[in-house]
């Protein structure tokens, strides 16, 4: 049977591709703005929020989206950059993860032991087991995130590389930073069911890092980052279809190999230029 004849494979390509598109674009700015740590920490919030949502009798996704967006706005309100903020974020997120552990324990004692896999699936996702509704939510939010990001891309680029001049030229710094955090949060949240709260990090950071190694032109870099993210997801799915290895392992593995190769390429080109 052909690969695309299977509904779960079509779902995986569709939702995975849209989420990767958003992750690649958002990730370009996460890397440019040195906010890799913040993005990673939002994955912890997604974990706790998802479990909290289920415990409260709501939908898991409602918990994930609600908690991620609320925390993103709080970080945005905190403002600033640098060490002090990193410490504050680290402290709060460690606590949030602790709350997540509590939720997981409450959840597993309240229900049968078989439901204990919920925690694992929030962290690592299950791209080959998506329900039709999940595919629709993942794809639409992925595309919406990408569109909003492209609409704010130019002032966000200005604000990211040259904040003081950007402010003097009229870029609304606070509002734009907060909106960007929300986009990061939505990207993490939408990915929870497909690639998981931990692995989305690989799709957000690694393709962007590869793109910035390969090009110093911002618009080319953004396109490369999105393209690489989509390509590793699709390629990972194809390989996973033929050999029995977890798709998430293959996707992050491919991204990592590309990262090493791009580093090598950058180093070689520098040596070439000096010679």
């Amino acid at each position: 049977m052909s690969m695309l004849g299977l509904e779960f494979m079509r779902n995986a390509f569709m939702a995975g591709g849209c989420i990767a598109l958003a992750a690649g674009l958002v990730g370009y700015f996460v890397v440019l703005r040195n906010q890799v740590f913040t993005a990673d920490a939002l994955g912890h919030v997604a974990f706790t929020g998802g479990l909290g949502g289920v415990l409260a009798g709501l939908n898991l996704l409602a918990g994930v989206f609600g908690s991620c967006i609320a925390v993103a706005l709080a970080i945005g309100a905190l403002g600033g950059r640098g060490r002090g903020r990193d410490i504050a974020i680290g402290t709060v997120f460690a606590w949030v993860l602790g709350v997540g552990a509590l939720f997981l324990s409450l959840y597993t004692t309240a229900r049968s032991a078989a439901s204990g896999t919920l925690g694992v699936s929030v962290l690592f996702g299950s791209i080959l087991g998506l329900q039709p509704a999940q595919v629709v939510v993942g794809s639409l939010t992925g595309i919406a995130t990408a569109v909003v990001l492209l609409l704010i891309a130019r002032p966000l680029l200005f604000l990211s590389v040259d904040p003081e001049v950007a402010v003097a030229r009229g870029v609304p710094s606070r509002a734009l930073s907060a909106l960007f955090f929300v986009l990061v949060a939505v990207t993490v949240a939408e990915s929870v069911q497909a690639v998981g709260a931990l692995l989305i990090f690989g799709l957000m950071v690694t393709p962007a890092a590869v793109a910035q190694n390969l090009s110093t032109r911002p618009w080319v870099g953004m396109a490369l980052s999105a393209g690489i993210a989509v390509a590793v997801v699709w390629l990972g799915l194809v390989v996973a279809f033929y050999i029995a290895l977890p798709a998430s392992f293959l996707i992050t593995g491919l991204a990592f190999v590309l990262y090493l190769a791009s580093h090598l390429a950058r180093r070689m080109s520098r040596i070439g230029r000096l010679a």
Binding site: F158, D162, A166, R169
Partner: protein
């Protein structure tokens, strides 16, 4: 007929963090003038620039630029903030930074535009940065970065440059070269220049006027009129002495930290 002033402050006062940092400032700068803004650290030199950029609102009085009230994001003023270097890892080409000065505040993506590309190329050429415009900004030297930033400040068609310590952290040769570049832009393009400096000496041969900010007030005039022991003592409100070294440099010493120093001290 009266010449239209480039900058006009009337009874202006600025507040920063609840504290009035200067008050009763009356200042007029004519179009095409090269003005140095001097004074001790924390006196409010940078705030003066931010007030005319519309970034810091005045607590009292008014400020007009080219006859109009200021607003943030005006194309008429190019701004170069006080800063350290760009992050060495910043992987964005120098020319892209110049381009952001042209339309970086607009929403949406940047589409190819020959007119804008030409405008950027013209500015890069003007500041003599063509040779390294395609290199990542983080890899450039301090002097090279400063040239790129001047191009960025000018690219939107600015008629006034607000430069906050552009010579800081440059070596003597680069201080000289950048000062000459700014003077030539001022003279050939009629651009009004307001330059905040820690040390008057590298720009002394070029400036038309100095504005001295100290003790909550502002004094302006020709360098030899303002940078004198009696005038500065009155302005600071404490004894200050102006010394002339044998090689023609001016040094201001007093109870505050010395506001000029030998560039080799860096």
């Amino acid at each position: 007929m009266r010449i239209l002033g480039a900058l006009q402050l009337d009874h202006a006062a600025a507040r920063l963090g609840g504290r009035l940092i200067w008050t009763e400032v009356d200042l007029e700068v004519q179009e095409g003038e090269f003005v140095a803004i001097l004074g001790p650290n924390g006196a409010g030199k940078s705030t003066l620039l931010k007030a005319l950029l519309g970034v810091v609102p005045l607590a009292e009085g008014s400020v007009r630029v080219f006859g109009r009230p200021v607003r943030r994001g005006s194309d008429e003023i190019g701004y170069l903030p006080q800063r350290r270097r760009f992050d060495p890892d910043l992987r964005i080409r120098a020319v892209d930074l110049v381009r952001l000065g042209l339309d970086g505040e607009r929403w949406g993506m940047s589409l190819p535009s020959p007119a804008k590309t030409n405008r950027v190329a013209e500015m890069v050429e003007l500041v003599g940065a063509a040779a390294y415009q395609d290199r990542p900004i983080g890899e450039l030297s301090g002097g090279e970065q400063q040239r790129i930033l001047i191009a960025q400040a000018l690219v939107s068609g600015a008629r006034m440059l607000a430069l906050d310590e552009p010579l800081e952290s440059l070596d003597l040769n680069n201080q000289q070269a950048i000062s000459e570049l700014i003077r030539s832009i001022c003279q050939t393009r009629g651009v009004t220049v307001l330059l905040v400096a820690h040390d008057i000496n590298p720009i002394l041969p070029f400036v038309d006027r100095v504005v001295y900010v100290a003790g909550g007030h502002v004094l302006s005039g020709k360098p030899q009129e303002v940078i004198r022991t009696e005038t500065l003592t009155a302005l600071y409100g404490t004894p200050v002495e102006v010394l002339h070294t044998s090689d023609g440099r001016i040094v201001v010493v007093g109870q505050y930290e010395p506001v000029t120093h030998h560039p080799d001290d860096h």
